[in-house]
């Protein structure tokens, strides 16, 4: 029900594009779609601090830019700190009357590498300091910009150029880092997961996050056909399957309270998600079973936390 409504309700979103077309992302890039939706959700009164990564490279080749809102790229690991600076400057300059008083959202945007790996310290610092900003992680589950190297956000079993399938090792040997839980552990007012395959859910969460006083964190699964070795036109379907199999549940943590946004009493088999991605093609039935067990266990934990468990 919810799904079908989403498909049509997307037409109710603004026609305005703040992340302009003509950028250089790959075909079927769901990260670019996520960013476009985030930009639509926030409108023009925003300042974006962006990390080094795919979205920076596809959108800002000097002297061109895809950005119709103020956009600032400094480095890879410091996006949350740069956003802290922007937010503080806005606050103090408005207080001193040097710029007009109005609501401007400070948005920090980084990929999974820039968030869960190299940018984790700066992010933790900014969340702890309590800056009034929104941090969006667009997670495509590896360092795609540099050629598909593994990150701590790469799922178990996935083949990347630094977690290859060899004679003794079958892709990524570690489990995906739970970044939303780490953000939530900072006791910030709002944490959510989202996926551009559920555009209305994504837009609503980003709007909500932007209107909350204090730090907010939104973690967006972003299907990457290039890195996942999937067919570009399947990107939306893959995002849906990630949610429907319980691999990437959509939930919110508001003031510590978990809420599963779309609950599935019966999850689809993870195989449906895994078997259409080249990065998983080496996985044996046993490995897939192992993944499914873990997915179900974590999903149940989430349901329990959301007050929906048995």
């Amino acid at each position: 029900m919810t799904e079908n409504l989403n498909v049509f309700a997307v037409r109710t979103l603004t026609q305005k594009e703040y992340f302009a077309p003509g950028h250089r992302s790959c075909q079927g890039c769901a990260e670019a779609l996520a960013v476009r939706l985030v930009a639509k959700a926030l409108g023009r009164n925003v300042i974006i601090a962006a990390a080094t990564g795919c979205m920076e490279i596809v959108s800002s080749p000097l002297p061109y830019t895809s950005w119709r809102v103020p956009w600032f790229h400094v480095a890879f690991e410091n996006t949350a700190a740069v956003a802290s600076g922007i937010e503080s400057a806005l606050k103090v300059l408005m207080r001193k009357g040097r710029i007009p008083n109005k609501k401007i959202v400070t948005l920090a945007m980084a990929g999974d590498g820039g968030t869960a790996d190299i940018g984790l310290q700066a992010l933790s610092g900014a969340l702890e300091r309590g800056h009034n900003f929104l941090y969006v992680c667009t997670d495509n589950e590896a360092y795609m910009n540099t050629g598909i190297q593994r990150s701590s956000s790469t799922p178990f079993g996935a083949s990347t150029t630094t977690s290859p399938v060899g004679r003794v090792q079958m892709g990524q040997v570690t489990w995906k880092k739970n970044m939303p839980a780490i953000a939530a552990a900072h006791n910030i007012p709002y944490v959510a997961t989202a996926c551009p395959s559920y555009p209305i859910d994504l837009v609503q969460k980003v709007k909500k996050a932007a209107n909350i006083e204090g730090p907010a964190y939104v973690h967006i699964l972003s299907v990457c056909p290039t890195g996942w070795r999937s067919i570009p036109e399947l990107s939306i379907k893959l995002g849906r399957l990630a949610v429907e199999t319980g691999i990437f549940p959509l939930y919110e943590v508001e003031k510590g309270q978990y809420r599963l946004n779309i609950d599935f009493p019966k999850l689809k088999p993870v195989k449906e998600y895994i078997r259409i991605q080249g990065r998983f093609r080496h996985l044996t039935e046993e490995m897939i079973e192992e993944i499914e067990k873990r997915v179900h266990k974590e999903y149940e934990q989430l349901r329990t936390r959301s007050g929906k468990g048995v």
Partner: protein, 390 residues
């Protein structure tokens, strides 16, 4: 009325930052920089300074916060030392590449290993090429004064570069000196609020920090290089304006008893005052020795340096850092500056006072003695670490 107050140099630095009406301060504590941030946090806590103050989780973030705030149009301040500077070095290059005005005070301290909290210039030399305007100061008054000079210069629309003030850790940062404070009214006139050309604001969206392909990168670097070089007249102009306000005049290269001197000591930072005592003594003994103090490290004042050394026969360059495998960084700069001259002095290079080891007036005397003998004996490009065992 001009007040002359005895205070710790770090406190004087913090007081200057307050008087400069900074908007955003972001720093991470490291010895010997700590007293500056401690005092600033007190000023903010007491409501004496209206600024956003953040003790962040690393120096890398400290400078990143300043970069974000400066791009949004705020006057920002940070300070650090040693390992902290090494950690933030990535962002030092970006701050200048983005042409963002800001001030950083470095309480110069040794870079590990071995770990040492004491003073030398190895920290700042590690970011020599980061594209900031870089001053070295000799005493507390110069630190205080250069805070105002730096902000005015940094925010000048014909400059727009971040500025570093290097002050020797402990040797300057932790001593109490008489400081002539400047009245707030005068400072407000000398340093009006920062008005950026572009700022991050939704009313006028700009993209900052775009990436460059090889087809355009070199042009952007050339623009930066030319801009830093051509900031020289603005630097001297700003010092002049400051001098007119306070009576204290500064120059890129300062000379002390250099008239007709055959041998010149060359120093940077707090060495200058000690070396001048040594020069006085040698002059009393009838020796032809003078002193050159390099105040402006970047952009390097090639012309002023050549002018100041044109009649000298021997230069004794005292470095407080080593470029391991080469020589002292000041010495290599000095040699580069003089290479084009037909008549150039011999350059003898000592590395002295690393990791805060005391260098007394008599040490300067001994170094001059040694250099003169070595040069006379034909060793015209000597390099040694002074006073070291083994």
């Amino acid at each position: 009325m001009v007040k002359r107050v005895g205070m710790e140099v770090s406190i004087a630095a913090a007081e200057a930052v307050k008087q400069a009406n900074v908007d955003v301060i972001s720093a991470y504590p490291i010895t010997p920089q700590t007293h500056i941030v401690e005092h600033l946090s007190e000023l903010v806590a007491n409501g004496e300074l209206d600024a956003e103050f953040f003790c962040v989780e690393s120096e890398h973030s400290a400078l990143s916060v300043c970069v974000g705030a400066a791009a949004t149009g705020a006057r920002t301040f940070t300070c650090t030392s040693s390992q902290g500077l090494a950690l933030m070095s990535e962002i030092t290059y970006i701050a200048s590449g983005l042409r963002l005005p800001m001030l950083m005070i470095i309480s110069n301290r040794t870079i590990s290993a071995p770990l040492s909290i004491w003073n030398d210039h190895s920290d700042t030399m590690s970011i020599r090429d980061c594209g900031w305007i870089q001053f070295f100061v000799e005493n507390g008054q110069e630190v205080y004064d250069h805070v105002f000079v730096s902000y005015r210069l940094s925010e000048d629309r014909n400059v727009l570069f971040p500025v570093i003030i290097n002050m020797d850790g402990f040797i300057l940062s932790h001593v109490i000196e008489p400081i002539q404070l400047i009245e707030q009214g005068k400072i407000d006139q000398f340093l009006p609020p920062y008005q950026p050309v572009h700022r991050l604001h939704p009313d006028h969206p700009v993209t900052m920090g775009a990436f460059a392909l090889p087809s355009i990168f070199a042009e952007t670097k050339k623009a930066q290089e030319e801009a830093l070089r051509s900031s020289m007249p603005k630097i001297t102009e700003t010092w002049k304006a400051f001098g007119e306000m306070t009576g204290r005049y500064y120059h890129p290269v300062e000379t002390y008893k250099t008239e007709d001197a055959d041998t010149l000591l060359v120093t940077m930072g707090s060495f200058g005052e000690t070396a001048s005592v040594a020069v006085d003594k040698m002059r009393e003994e009838g020796r032809s020795v003078g002193l050159i103090k390099i105040r402006l490290w970047r952009p390097f004042p090639f012309e002023a340096f050549k002018l100041a050394t044109q009649h000298a026969k021997k230069l004794v360059v005292i470095d407080r850092a080593i470029s391991v495998g080469a020589c002292g960084p000041v010495a290599s700069e000095v040699k580069a500056a003089l290479y084009g001259n037909d008549q150039r002095p011999s350059v003898y290079n000592f590395v002295a006072g690393i990791s805060g080891r005391d260098v007394t007036p008599s040490d300067f005397g001994k170094m001059v003695d040694k250099a003169e003998i070595e040069i006379d004996e034909g060793n015209k490009e000597g390099f040694e670490i002074y006073g070291v065992r083994g």
